[in-house]
Symmetry: C2
Subunit: 383 residues, 2 copies
């Protein structure tokens, strides 16, 4: 049954059949009236998802391209930025800024923990000369399964006056992200996460403060230029030929999400994440993320003694058709990760915990598989 898979990784995520098929519609002229209509609908719906009254743009590329767009539109070579990193993707954001000549000051926190807002406050308070032009932060760190508290961090950065650039690639739709209310100046999201569509698009929300910064920003840019995106959007177009199928799919997926309601969607992710954590704990496994900031999109789990991550993932794939993610970089053989964002059902969660328990037992782990699914089901059926 190799063709029957439960894709439980933090992106690409499973795509509803109706959304998959929306992408199989015949091609149309991307500079014609039908495309303009679709682009307007999804752009307006994205503003509601980002909870912003400002601009949102759709670019064709991977999430990393969206982070590059944030850097090249908002910053200049030599600008000082504070890079708040709690994992692989925070480090990547910093690496992109460095590649373009930005002076990056790291404010790193131990992997598995969230950024301490008070440390950000203290560092910014010490910046008397207001040399720090921007703060870069990851909302949901996919590599460690930790969510930063943007509602606290946002106002701290705004008080200082620096721009706040947010990697929200895996957070948007899976959890609350109040772009305007939390003082986030630029937020990047990716299509292949909780939006329930395939990879190929990035979405960028940008407010007036970020536009002002952009006018002075001097890193060279062309493909990712948001000024071009704005000019073309006014005509119902994108500057360069977009990934048309993913735009069709975005329209279909956003209609599903709006029917569910954004708050209900956040609650679903929270409930399912809680069920995963309950099941994992009942199996006697140790969480990698600190519990106060465990992500509602992805759960990171320390490998049990005597079980290799690669062997566990292989057995889960080959025998149970369950696809989990390993760790990245230094965490490669230390943790594994369960993605539970996007089009994931309660049955998927139960099945995953069942397979995990059985596979661990088969690999010699001292676990009680029944306890895992029992705790999961109990959580899902709870108040």
């Amino acid at each position: 049954m190799k063709d029957k898979q439960l894709l439980m990784i933090p992106g690409p995520t499973p795509v509803p059949q109706s959304v998959l098929l929306a992408g199989a519609a015949p091609m149309i002229n991307h500079r014609g009236p039908e495309f303009a209509e679709a682009l307007e609908e999804v752009t307006e719906a994205l503003k509601r998802v980002f909870q912003t009254r400002h601009d949102v743009f759709i670019l064709t590329g991977s999430g990393t391209g969206g982070l590059e767009a944030a850097v090249v539109n908002a910053l200049s070579p030599g600008d000082a930025v504070l890079s708040v990193s709690i994992g692989v993707f925070g480090d990547r954001f910093a690496a992109i800024a460095k590649a373009f000549g930005v002076k990056v000051e790291p404010l790193d926190f131990e992997w598995g923990t969230a950024a301490d807002p008070e440390k950000i406050r203290a560092r910014l308070a010490a910046d008397n000369k207001k040399e720090i032009k921007a703060v870069m932060v990851t909302h949901n760190e996919t590599s460690t399964g930790v969510t930063n508290d943007l509602a606290e961090i946002g106002p701290i950065v705004r008080e200082h006056g620096a721009l706040l650039l947010v990697d929200g690639i895996s957070s948007l739709v899976a959890m609350d992200c109040q772009t305007d209310a939390w003082c986030l100046d630029l937020v990047v999201a990716g299509s292949q996460k909780a939006f329930m569509i395939p990879p190929g698009l990035v979405f960028i929300a940008i407010n007036d403060r970020a536009w002002s910064a952009m006018e002075k920003a001097s890193i060279p840019r062309f493909y990712w230029d948001l000024g071009q995106a704005k000019d073309y959007l006014a005509r119902g177009q994108t500057p360069w030929t977009p990934a048309v199928p993913q735009v069709f799919q975005l329209r279909a997926a956003l209609r599903i999400l709006e029917a569910e309601g954004l708050q209900a969607c956040f609650a679903r992710h929270a409930r399912q994440a809680g069920a995963v954590r309950a099941g994992v704990k009942a199996l006697g496994l140790k969480m990698f993320a600190e519990s106060s900031h465990a992500s509602n999109a992805v759960t990171s789990i320390r490998k049990p003694d005597g079980v290799a991550v690669a062997a566990l993932r292989k057995l889960l794939l080959d025998k149970y058709g369950v696809v989990l993610a390993g760790g990245q970089q230094t965490l490669k053989d230390e943790i594994f990760r369960i993605g539970h964002l996007g089009h994931v059902s309660e049955s998927d969660i139960v099945a995953t915990l069942g397979a995990l328990g059985m596979a661990l037992k088969e690999l010699g782990g001292s676990v009680n598989p029944a306890a895992g699914v029992a705790a999961t089901v109990e959580h899902l059926g709870g108040p």
Copy 2:
């Protein structure tokens, strides 16, 4: 019948139903074994399409992103390049280089004509100090429907020693492009043209000379870094999450193309382009492109007196469901264009010429619609 369209623009092009549905397959782990297998198959097939023994990479983005990748990987700020332009896309390539600080010397030819290889030879011969680091040229200029003679230009540039960077976005698969034999150092192609798949991917062929240049190239780069693409391809991956559906579609389309055979595919495009030109001439319309270099991918036609391009395109769309392209920039109201690349059948060509003749007559043009389709059919049925 608004949902029954003949999409006759130079991209996005019609996609075969089987290829559309290949993109509707469930998502998979882009860092797993199934994706690695697909990536290897398409990469090897692309090398045959590009007629190269060197590297080919698949990047997620629009064609313009591929041109940006060419610039930022091969060049340094202050490098002198000779930009051979015969239209909008040649100018765009130059604009990208300028945006990244490259010293661009334009060698422009009148729109509607091809680049004169002898003028390129003369300019390079005058460059005694070998200051020109690279020559940028468009293989098929989509905005004017003119194809440059790369088989002649390539060896001229190689003799001088400069790198040759080629925009092959709309040429690959529609016409012969012998990357290695013609001395092309870096060639960019786009998925939504003759490859018969939706937009979202760009393909880049790069040889050893371009790799050597890359080692010294100092324009900052991250997302488009081909060094990263090479490292990850060795593991069966792309550095950033790719547009997975388009990779599935590329596999399906390349299998169709390999079954047809590359030479047969070029011959099909040549025959159909000839049929379009025969029909257009029989309608008494004037070609915009010089006949010696008229493109086999797209035909540009001067608007007849007394007929507005916008009105013609609107009537063709509303009444006949035929989607043609207008002109771009200064050609906006001067020409219209018929795309005939990719998954276009002989019946599509006949239907398009029929609709064009009827629409022109309805708009008051002095044309004989029957003569147009007669000439088209005669050409298609010819030797």
